[in-house]
Amino acid sequence: MANREDIALMGHLMRRAGFGASHDELNDRISRGYEATVEDLLNPERFEPVDDDILYRYMPGYEGALGPPLNQAEWVYRMINTERPLEEKMALFWHQLFATGNSKVDNPPELTQQIAMFRRAGLGNFREILVELAQNPAMIFWLDNNGNHMGAINENWGRELLELFSMGVGNYSEDDIKEASRAFTGWTIGPKIPRNPLGRFYWSFEYRPEDHDDGEKTFLGHTGNFDGQDIIDIVVNQPATARFLARHMYNFFVADEPQVPSWNITPPNDPDAIDQLVAAYDESDGNITAMLRVLFNSDFFKEAQFSRVKSPAELVVSTAKLAGNFNGPRPGFNSLAFECAYQGQELLNPPSVESWHTGGEWIDGGALVRRVNFAAGLLGDVSLPGVKSIVANLRSQGSLSPDDMVDACLEMVGPLEVGDITRAELLDEARDGGELRWDTEADAAESEKRVGVMLALIAASRDFQFA
């Protein structure tokens, strides 16, 4: 039997490297060990991918989605049903870093293709990821590189590559932006068959040598006849790039940092942790898996439990996973996609290329009400399979005192650590009903109802908002 610290640590790992796990899954993983589980997460090819045939057989509208939220719903389906949780979590990481939105692209299948690229390449080498990103049709359209021509540059992609995707403000000049933009001229998308009335067709990356500025450029102190790949080669070797990426990883996987636009004037909360991640980047030539291996096995990660506010996607997906009613194809994934949006994170449609602000900024009055109602509504529903499983677990423990009932419920949903005020409120509720008993059918029915109420209260707590 795993001890409480082991379960807490494994729960922490699965919340951060995935979208949470049930109590049974945590115990299974503990039997393999923490380091072995980290390796399982870092090597998703050990597990079967989501079965696309099954998905598109039962939900054919997802394939080449004609409009949102179908593409968002498909991604939520994958987040819940994947056996490769880190692969999907990294897709979300890259989506939040390389924010690309349907508000402009207006082409849901292309955004889905971009996420598929993150899924495929997201644990690899940062240079390769940036090259794929620069050639990704949705990104090209999003940042206007199809309008970036020899002799008439459009700086949008070149600027965001440096400012938001790799180095951060303060590490390059306006001239560097112009020179980088020249290097990416001719990187564009080919025309495609227009949408409707026969469904969607896909863009493809197109390199047009006649539109590429092959002249000499000076970029970050280097001079040559650079093209886009040369620019990326220089970018990924900048110390600022390693630090910028490390800080994003820390913010996403470890603990909330200040908002990105302030990073050039606000130091990291844990400079030593950033140094460790930078060292991993340097030693591995920018390998993402190597950086994450250091991160997940570090003390700074293990000691950072409940120090991040769950993003809406994390809250919605992890709660739906726990409730167990969205396993496999079924109607209703649209509602989960809408829920993410109502809580402030419309997947595949970030507010701007700067992406969403994170941490405490996920929470405002309206968003908090949505978060609480959603989570309490699911976890308080004792008809759902995941909740039934929690009730069955408590029942297997026999009669429980009110204190033990609170502890057992907290154990089942995380395990979740709560503050004194929350615990006192939960104990008040538990003590009102007295001992949890299962001796008779009437006792069992009443106890089941009380567990549902307790789980709903936990889901409504301040503490539940943290990952």
Binding site: Y62, L66, K192, P197, G199, R330, N334
Partner: protein, 333 residues
């Protein structure tokens, strides 16, 4: 190519019907269709989530006559509409693989009844897909997630069943569509086993249609629909490979058709003509991807051996003629 000649058969592309439409004229992720008298076709659309579920009544010459059914659990409504067939009187039957029931309508679309209980016991359903009537007027239902075929009266009284989960002869893995030939033999698209199996009318295994040994040309990836023509040739919608596979009666692979809709349907052409930007955009691209099948999901053959192929992701039906009196042109032209 518009004309395919193979093993003494000639398949000649004729025309296509349909386009995407969230409602009204058009289809949305259509899953199946049924050919009726008087040139009429019933097409069942799955839509997506809570939109688009319906049965459309159209004609083979592109008239949209109306639609019935909508999203919901009530009488005459659907959550996951899947397959459709007609009885001898022209009444319409449709399966729903989420609600685990079959609904019946009169030819105009007025709801008559529904039947089906969820479960895995005798006569219970889990994910009903393909449906077809036998010569006695009883209905065969592909009970997909129970990996079997069940036979019911048209009012839903259970009569018999065959098949179980597995990959041996007579076993199934998530079967999808089915059809009967004139002799009452039953052909089942054994979706996850990537083959079609043929049974006699009592459910005894006879033959299977799958990849030709070592050739790969007859490979199936998730077959969905199956039909048999008057000469016994078997047509299979090869959903995962986006093509129609044609087999001889003995299971020998004949050829593949990949879709040839070079001329848009009248509905599609009207939509294009009404949008100058679309006209302009189409002049700059290779349109071939548009001609080809995308998720062919159901195939039917009529009394004249015309072959109708429904595409879920192009929301249309492509029609081929099996030409019996074809004369080869001079090859030295």
């Amino acid at each position: 190519m518009l004309t395919t000649v193979a093993a003494g058969r000639v398949f000649d592309y004729n025309y296509c019907i349909g386009m995407y439409g969230m409602s009204g004229q058009g289809f949305w992720s259509p899953q199946d269709f049924a050919l009726a008298d008087n040139n009429m076709v019933y097409v069942i659309s799955r839509g997506a989530e809570e939109l688009g579920q319906r049965i459309s009544r159209v004609t083979l010459d592109h008239q949209f006559l109306g639609q019935f059914g909508a999203f919901g659990r009530g009488d005459g409504q659907f959550i996951w509409p899947r397959a459709i067939t007609l009885d001898d009187e022209g009444n319409v039957y449709a399966s729903d693989d989420f609600l685990n029931r079959v609904s019946a309508f009169d030819p105009e679309g007025t709801f008559i009844r529904s039947w089906g209980d969820a479960g895995d016991g005798k006569g219970e359903l889990n994910g009903p897909c393909g449906i077809a009537f036998d010569a006695e007027g009883n209905m065969l239902v592909v009970d997909s997630q129970n990996h079997r075929v069940q036979r019911f009266t048209h009012k839903g009284k259970h009569l018999s069943s065959f098949g179980k989960h597995g990959d041996g002869d007579g076993e199934f893995n998530l079967p999808w569509g089915l059809c009967l030939d004139d002799a009452g033999n039953v052909y089942v698209a054994d979706w996850k086993n990537n083959r079609v199996q043929k049974f006699d009318s009592d459910g005894n295994f006879l033959l299977k249609f799958e990849a030709a040994p070592r050739s790969g040309v007859g490979d199936l990836h998730g077959p969905t629909g199956v039909a048999v023509d008057s000469e016994g040739d078997v047509y299979v919608t090869d959903w995962g490979n986006h093509r129609l596979q044609v087999y001889a009666p003995d299971g020998r692979f004949i050829t593949s058709l990949v879709g040839d809709a070079q001329q848009p349907s009248p509905w599609t052409q009207t939509y294009i003509d009404a949008n100058p930007d679309i006209v302009k955009a189409r002049r700059r691209v290779d349109l071939e991807p548009e001609w080809r099948f995308r998720r062919p999901v159901s195939v039917r053959v009529d009394a004249h051996d015309r072959i109708f192929v429904l595409e879920a992701n192009r929301h249309r039906i492509q029609v081929y003629d099996k030409v019996k009196d074809y004369e080869e042109h001079p090859l030295n032209l």
